[in-house]
Symmetry: C2
């Protein structure tokens, strides 16, 4: 699609890190990274991608609409699970190649595994990593194992 009128031409918008015009930078695949955070706690819930079309849709309808790279299709989050993300704020970074979405997460679960956040495992570092020896794959630590829904019931058996 051609660039929607709501996006400034990057060459004309002035320096991306100071301009007050929306001039998003899409990557070679036409995508921009979007970090969805809980609007109250700031907790990162998930990271996904938008193309120009789905960013425009998100801005228009006030719900998160991503581009699914695995399915190559528009992904209006929550259409299958019911767990939509109502937009409370959209932030863009200095070079305008990344978005932060502050969202009100329906069902309190963003992850397809049924957990609140996709980031439910911790990677050891420093002494904890050294203790594991650094010679074989590091063991992750589950920091949140509460399922807000049963993925099989919602998505069907995979």
């Amino acid at each position: 699609m051609t660039n929607p009128a709501i996006f400034a031409d990057r060459a004309q918008a002035g320096k991306a890190d100071e301009t007050q015009q929306l001039a998003p930078k899409f990557d070679a695949n036409g995508l921009i990274t979007a970090v969805a955070c809980d609007w109250k706690t700031n907790e990162v819930l998930m990271v996904a991608f938008m193309n120009a079309e789905t960013l425009k849709m998100t801005i228009e309808i006030g719900e998160a609409v991503y581009w699914s790279r695995s399915r190559s299709e528009i992904w209006h989050k929550g259409q299958t699970s019911g767990n939509t993300q109502k937009i409370r704020e959209i932030l863009i970074d200095c070079d305008q190649d990344c978005l932060v979405l502050k969202v009100e997460q329906a069902g309190d679960a963003a992850c397809h595994t049924g957990r609140r956040s996709c980031f439910y495992r911790a990677v050891p570092f420093g002494d904890a990593a050294l203790k594991q020896g650094m010679t074989s794959p590091l063991n992750l630590r589950v920091v949140d194992d509460e399922r807000k829904f049963d993925p099989e019931a919602v998505y069907g058996k995979k």
Copy 2:
């Protein structure tokens, strides 16, 4: 570089979204996205990338080390500005293609513009966007204009 021993082979680690082995998925350019958040408030400070080598360095030294795509070099954050990021926690998402770093940000500024966060401008959406007409580039709203340092003094004139 060959895959460090601390990373499991993705084919052998089992399903990425449930395994407890660290099996990061690097993209076609060998990179994984890293979202740096304030360890106390969860505020997203910046989003950058790591390759296998700099992820391993981050795990070992407990400070954020990124891969600079623009300079094609290892980027130990804060080596120029002094604004290092001490790691407090590293989280990895369900499909292990994205990291969240909870960091203690030296100097209280992650952005090269001197601001606390790179995400210092808001994108209008819904009614606020419609009011602007949707026929020309949307105007961003600056939500944080406080400079923690003077970028020219730190990085020199650009």
